[in-house]
């Protein structure tokens, strides 16, 4: 009921009717794994520098349909984010206008669920853009990889600290690191995490 009402509200708010498909309930089996690189960690203020996304179909990452865009920032890049992402302004030579990139992203993900590592952040920051361009936040269902991982992690005691850092998860799952951290590489690695976690059982034992 609530969902339907929300969908109706969104439909009214939607400025560009071309994106009505985003509001259809998804019936397929595919999934999009998404990662963004941003100028900072505040979705309200910071900007997206690049977006990487891949489609998962069954147990495969469909590499030839991968998505990678660099966005033109509105102002200069902060020293802080240069340190994190190693993206300098000169690296943004292939960058496109933010609106173009976001619209292409929407065409790419359609109404598929989106998964990612701390996907909440990515969802929020992308939504800042979609609100601006099409009038609504990103309506897609989200799947959080770190909680998916947490549910499958067998703790040895209830006090054990579960390291949910990206690299720690990759290591714990024995997954290979692929080159440098950029949006697409991280999306592919996140996709691997998802595929691997999907084959593992959830634990409902004493410490979970």
């Amino acid at each position: 009921m609530f969902k339907a009402w929300r969908r109706k509200q969104s439909r009214n708010a939607l400025k560009d009717k071309k994106y009505e498909i985003l509001l259809q309930p998804y019936t397929g089996t595919e999934l999009v794994v998404l990662d963004t690189e941003t100028t900072g960690l505040d979705p309200k203020k910071d900007e997206i520098l690049s977006i990487g996304a891949v489609i998962i179909r069954d147990n495969k990452i469909v590499m030839h349909r991968s998505f990678e865009r660099f966005l033109k920032p509105s102002t200069g890049i902060s020293q802080e984010s240069i340190k994190i992402h190693h993206i300098r302004e000169c690296d943004l030579a292939h960058a496109v206008e933010a609106e173009v990139a976001i619209r292409e992203l929407l065409d790419f993900i359609e109404n598929r669920p989106i998964a990612g590592y701390y996907i909440g952040f990515d969802h929020q920051i992308v939504s800042q853009y979609t609100k601006r361009y099409i009038g609504i936040p990103l309506p897609n269902e989200t799947i959080e990889l770190s909680s998916m991982y947490y549910r499958r992690y067998r703790k040895s005691s209830s006090y054990e600290f579960v390291d949910l850092k990206f690299d720690a998860i990759m290591n714990a799952l024995h997954l290979p690191f692929l080159g440098k951290h950029d949006a697409l590489n991280d999306a592919v690695m996140s996709a691997m995490i998802y595929l691997k976690l999907k084959t593992m059982p959830e634990y409902k034992g004493a410490f979970s």
Partner: protein, 605 residues
Amino acid sequence: MSFSDQKAFFQSIHPFCDLSGAVLEKAMQYAEIGFYPKEHALIALGAAPSALYLIIKGEVKVYSKEHELLRVYHANEGFDAEALIEGRSASSYVVTEDLICYELSRKGFMKLFDEQASFRKFYLMDVVERISYLKNRETSSDLGSFMIARVMDSYLHEPCIVDASTLVSRAIKKSVEMKSSSIVVRENGACGIVTDSDIKTALANETLDLSSTIGEMACFPIVAVEKEDFLFNVYLLLIQKNIKRVAVKDQGEIVGMLEQIDILSYFANHSRLATVKIEKAKNIETLREASQGYVNIVKKLHAQGVKARYIAKLISEINRKVFTRLFEMLLPETLREDCALIIMGSEGRGEQILRTDQDNGLIIRDGVDIKLYSEIMQKFTETLISFGYPACDGKIMVSNPYWCKSESDYKKEIIHWIEYPDMDSYMYFSIFFDARCVVGDKRLLEDLKHTILAHIDRGNDIYMARFAKLTTLFETPVGFFSTFLHRDRKIDLKKAGIFPIVQGIRSLSLAYSITALSTVERIKALKAKEIVDATMANELTEAFEILLYIRLEQQLRILAEDKKVGNAVDTDRMSKIQRDLLKDSLQIVEKFKKFIVRHFGLDNL
């Protein structure tokens, strides 16, 4: 992962590294990354794989039909091109450690395979690699079509099929009538085999009972392949099982027999043509033409990964046919039966790959006038030189009266060699011990060899020991400091490795009256007599093979540069894998030398 990272991954794997950037990018349009948990059955036996798998991480084990572990694949390795090409997997693939891999769809793979020559070549070579140790060989351009030849493309012999209840005598008769070298025995739907050598062995052991049934003799089950199998895989099977022939099945029925020699002939397609041409040559001019072009055959066989020993065998065969045909052309029929043309040394052992000096001689029956032959033999030698067989520096040729004389003169000479040994006589004795009769009356040579064995048998220990000591004549560069620290980085393979093996094995063969001629055959015979143990026999065969192979490789390269072919190899021009193989081989040679020293008590000499 970014496009360039993906590209880098593909480029780290053969043969994708040979592809141009544009082609690679196109190919990657067909790629996906797959994840498969442990114990997942990736490719089922007999199934058509849907993609070429390139492992990013994980482990995959390959099992045969009989659940025997064949191979383990790890990161940065790909499989199974062969099954993709064939549309059917001959083994099953199971994930044994969570697998993350690139999958290049069959469509994408076949596109590359069809369009990219270097790509195609690599996968066809991959099959060859398993037997030929060495990578990065030059391949001839028409290799592609050859490597995908199937069993049905080769000549198949009509099978001689009999029921298990058939009498041995009748079965043998039938096989003789059909000119078949084996008998297929059928019993309750199963098939077995009796080969000519089984019959020969039974004869020798006096266990051949002509009135029993053939079923009792047969060996079950017969090794069979399918008509559609790749010829090369069959070749590998023959080597692996150490057998000479397989039955060929079509829809469960045996439709023919495939012999090792047919496969080799197929490989050496041109060599077969050459021998036919040689046999049909009407005059010296056509014979000359037919005998040419052998270097191309060697190159081709070599590129196809055929073992040096088999190449040598085929080339010897060609040479012998040339000698025989020329002999028949020059010598009137009445004179042919009273003599024996012999070839000696490496040619006698069938180990000559590139035409080196001719070492030949003529034995003339006692009481026949030698003068009848001398002029013709002069012409024989000259003609061979004009064909491109270089003259022997030591004048070991039929044109030299020393190597063209009567039986009894040879006999005297042999005894002289043994009783008054010097450097020359050791050499003469050695190459004569390896002599093989090409044409004429074989018994003339056999009698002389008996003379040798009888003389040595009489307990001529000192001669035997001195003869064996030649094995250690040249130093073999092994050990920590001496390895490849030679000036110019050149190693004389003949002195360092090939000669010690040949001479050591020759000495043992002489001491134990072994009549086999080729070094490998001699090693086998010595193993059978338990004079060398199985490990040493295998190691020696392997080392000998590798040394011949490396020498051939270098000789072909030198030949391509139009220089004179020798025995020295340049270690700088070898690949790492070749150098390692060479090092190992020389280590084995050194071990063998010590064995010879112990065996003949040479320390006391």
